[in-house]
Amino acid sequence: MPAIDAAAYRSPWRRLHPAVKGVLFGGLLVCALVLPAWPAAPLAAAAAVGAVLGPARVAPRAYAGAVWGPLLFVLTGAAALLVSVGGPGGAVAMAADGGARAAEVAGRAAAAVCCQVGFACTTPLAEVLPRLTRAGVPEPVVEVVALVYRMLFVALEGVRRIQAAQAARLGYSGWRPWIRSAGALGAALFVRSYDRSRRLQRGLECRGYTGALTVLVEETPLRPAALAAAAAPALLVAAVALGPSALGAAL
């Protein structure tokens, strides 16, 4: 099961209105992307990591594990900026000021990843999805998305079990078995998904389903004070990044 999802349900911040966390991490993310990278990116990253590991009490291991994958992409991607291809320096050469460009891109992206994962690690999707109707997403689409969310865990569990069973019979012991097993897994999963949807339909019909998946969504109060507090870190980062003049103007 995805570690981010488990972390989100465990965080004390799960009870906060999603908009509050959206403003906090979204604001910091905008700072990291739009403002001068130095010092905005490290400041935004520090604020996001501080919030996640501090008051949101996300386990450092879970957070680090989630951030690791995209950071790897960021580093490899930034490494490509170090070389120059087809320029005057020859077919492949070290790029002029490649280091600085790579560092800036990597810094921004790393900070942005910290913010994105921070939001994901504190916001259970079950509480966000039903609210999408209020954001103007058509209701059938929201229902499908919510169903995907529920059913993907059932599907992932199926994948885990089928893979374990295949591995037990040496299904992943070489390239040919690997392809045969992965193909069989895909086909089995497709058939199961289809079967699952029919069975769920039967099961829900018995509960009065006639086409609409209406549920009670608990009202979480959206307090303006909380929103303002959530916006503060981003404003602070912006003020520092834009310099003392902007800080003065803001005050």
Binding site: M1, A6, L147, V154, L200, R202, C206, R207, L216
Partner: protein, 283 residues
Amino acid sequence: MTGAARDSGAPALAACGLVFGYPDSGPVFTGLDAAVPARSTVAVLGPNGGGKTTLLRLLAGSLSPDAGEVRVDGEPVGRGRRALAGLRRRVQLVFQDPDDQLFSASVRQDVSFGPLNLGLDAAAAGERVDWALEALGITALAERPTHLLSYGQRKRVVLAGALAMRPSVLLLDEPTAGLDPQGVESLLATLEGLRAHGTTLVMATHDVDLAYRWAERVLLLDRAVLAEGPAREVLADPDVPAAARLRPAWAPTAARALRRAGLLPEDAPDPATPEEAARLLGP
């Protein structure tokens, strides 16, 4: 609400001449009659493939019979949407696999689905949800996501979802499958609470001992009704379960032997556990 009909003695739920077959396989029932008295506990006993699940689905309106009809409180259930909706207010079926009935990632949201389908407003539905979660002792799970629950917990959530519709009849398909002894005990305690509140309970199972212990009446089913009647009477004869490819129940065998040996008075209740029976043999 249905007090008049109930007092008149009509069964809460009845199958009358049900004929049914699946398209791929042959016929399952060719004229099946069965009755579930109001406020009773009925076990539908039979081997795998004997038609237990099919009967429950026919009774719950989840399958339509090819011929014959289902009656609720003596009135035939029609075939239209309205009729079906009326049936579902009164009869709820809990499937064996909880993943067949859970569609929401949030326990609270999932349990609220049925009450909202009944047309209740948010406040009334919310009350029903709280009550159902309370009745099953899973109020603490309300905030947990469905996918982080254990199998036994998911079974309870589905039961809460059915209960929140306040049905007068609850049909349970193999409710103890996959539960360990402690899980079974806690389920039975929950069902006892529902029975005390007047809910009619029907359980499909192939556990004869469970049926003997729990049900007032049994219905022995192997593509046809092999026997029907009070559990203690029907299961007293070991040949009856055998006809449905089932083992005899343990308790009546022990009780009969103990009575013959003069160790258990004729009018005393059967021993409930092997330990109780053993104690009757002396210190």
